[in-house]
């Protein structure tokens, strides 16, 4: 995924002389082709994220399309007020491309984790949030948004969901109905789409015919797609590598609240720090963000045999 970020910067940078990339000493080597092809428009600024964010706003003020890039907690949580005041309040557009989604940096501990970024950025008026989990998604979503005068977060995960979407499948602000179903809507974002698909046959065996929706744009959220599915199924499971509070699940709940007789389940990160070590997959297993976790929560919340 990170290589796709570098490839897209190179391609777009050669087409658009107003693209400028600022990094905080991350991805420096893979961005060298961009640096060479676009002289004067690549800066490995230093370890100073607040200054990087506001510098980028200054670049936007004089007509550039800035991209700032480093590890998620350092560029979202630490300089949050700079994002709020210098981009959003001043109505300047820009792009934040993060690595280290959720607990991707599994062994580095909580200092390098970031699973509150949807919640934080959603509080800022006019912002956009994307979560591309296959290379073509990043490329397409970046091209569709990078100069639309909004502050856009691209949460780039280390893992992919494994689906071969094409560029034609991807449209900013639109979810993708991956499978048709009848009595259960499974809404997945990021790499967790892979687990949603892996659980489908077993859910079928339990009597739950899952309609799987994939969400790459967290904000603006495709409520039309979600509501149409929930209207049909009246059972919803949301899966995301984000804290429960302020995540995708909250928006799904709010956006469907006037549909009667809906039951919900949420598979996300509970209200606690992920303090363990091990691999990304081991963190997922610990949190139940896997096939078995999906089957368990559906069984526990909705029972077996299908409800409708």
């Amino acid at each position: 995924m990170r290589q796709q970020f570098a490839d897209t910067m190179l391609a777009v940078g050669q087409e658009d002389p107003n693209l400028v990339v600022l990094v905080g000493d991350i991805s420096h080597f893979i961005l060298q082709p961009f640096a060479k092809a676009c002289p004067g428009r690549y800066y490995n600024v230093g370890i100073c994220e607040a200054a990087i964010v506001t510098m980028a706003a200054g670049l936007a003020k004089v007509g550039f399309y800035p991209v700032v890039h480093t590890i998620a907690p350092f560029i979202i949580e630490r300089p949050f007020e700079h994002i709020k005041l210098d981009f959003c309040y001043q109505k300047l557009g820009g792009n934040i491309v993060t690595v280290g989604s959720a607990f991707d940096y599994a062994t580095l501990g909580c200092t390098h984790h970031c699973y509150d970024d949807f919640a934080l950025i959603k509080t800022l008026p006019g912002t956009q949030i994307t979560y591309p989990a296959c290379p073509v998604e990043f490329d397409v979503l970046f091209r569709q948004t990078y100069r639309n005068n909004a502050l856009t977060l691209f949460r780039v995960p280390g893992q992919q969901h494994g689906q071969d979407f094409t560029a034609r499948d991807i449209k900013f602000g639109r979810g993708i109905k991956v499978t048709e179903g009848s009595n259960l809507t499974v809404i997945a974002t990021g790499p967790q789409l892979g687990n949603a698909l892996a659980s489908r046959d077993a859910l079928d065996d339990m009597g739950w015919h899952a309609e799987i929706l994939y969400i790459h744009t967290i904000r603006p959220l495709d409520m039309e797609l979600i509501r149409a599915s929930v209207n049909k199924t009246r059972r919803v499971l949301v899966i995301e590598e984000h804290m429960r509070s302020g995540g995708l699940g909250d928006d799904v709940l709010r956006g469907t609240i006037n549909i009667p007789d809906v039951r919900y389940a949420f598979l996300s990160i509970p209200d606690e720090f992920v303090t363990g070590y091990g691999s990304y997959q081991e963190h997922c297993d610990h949190l139940g963000l896997n096939r078995e976790g999906i089957l368990n929560i559906v069984r526990n919340e909705f029972g077996t045999g299908g409800g409708r």
Binding site: G40, G46, T54, M55, A57, K61, H82, L85, Q90
Partner: protein, 257 residues
Amino acid sequence: MNEDLRRKIAQMVYDGKDGHMPSAFSIIDIIEVLYRDFLKFDAKNPQWPERDYFILSKGHGCLALYVILERHGFISSRDIAMFCKSGGILGEHPDCTKVPGAEASTGSLGHGLPLAVGIALGLRLKGMNNKIYVLVGDGECHEGSIWEAANVANNLQLGNLCVIVDWNGSAAQLMPRDDLVAKWRAFGWEVMVIDGHSDSELHGAFGRVRFQAKGTPTAIIAKTVKGKGVPMIEGHGQWHHRIPTEEELRIIMEALS
């Protein structure tokens, strides 16, 4: 110096029932000289691409900026009369999406300088020779983002950038080890120290800034007096955010007459 502008500021605070009068008196002479003799601008076209930029990073001093913007035709006397009132465009901190001529929305300290660094870098990339001035407070220099930006500006050799530090002693109230000259020099900036209320010293300093596309950025450390011009409010006491009574306004106006 600038008694008329100070009187207008005092009246705005009295009428608007809000505002940081001593902070504005501390910087009004600096801004007045800049707009009178150094900044290139077009009040009828505030976004003129060839303009010079003035960013007031210590946003709470904005009354000084507002009266200058009115003097040069960016905003009207009606805007001034509506200071801090519902429906007006002028608040206690400048909002650049509302105020013509205000280059940045500031108020939270430590933002104006890194913004100016981005502007200076961007304009240099475009091959333009605009000058970028940013005024920061000495108390604001407690903020880490100021020094992040100072470090970046020197490393990027932003010679088109000039910082003016309003050294009125606010910082030393809390952190007395306050050698701003040594600090800015240590960060690699060209440093001048002047009397920030002296027309001739301000002219001399602004005239000496070299403004190269690529070169050492300049810091003008302006020694100032908070509340300058009115003995009753000078210094660091209760007047920081105090609204004068009718009698106090009379005393202030008399001191400025």
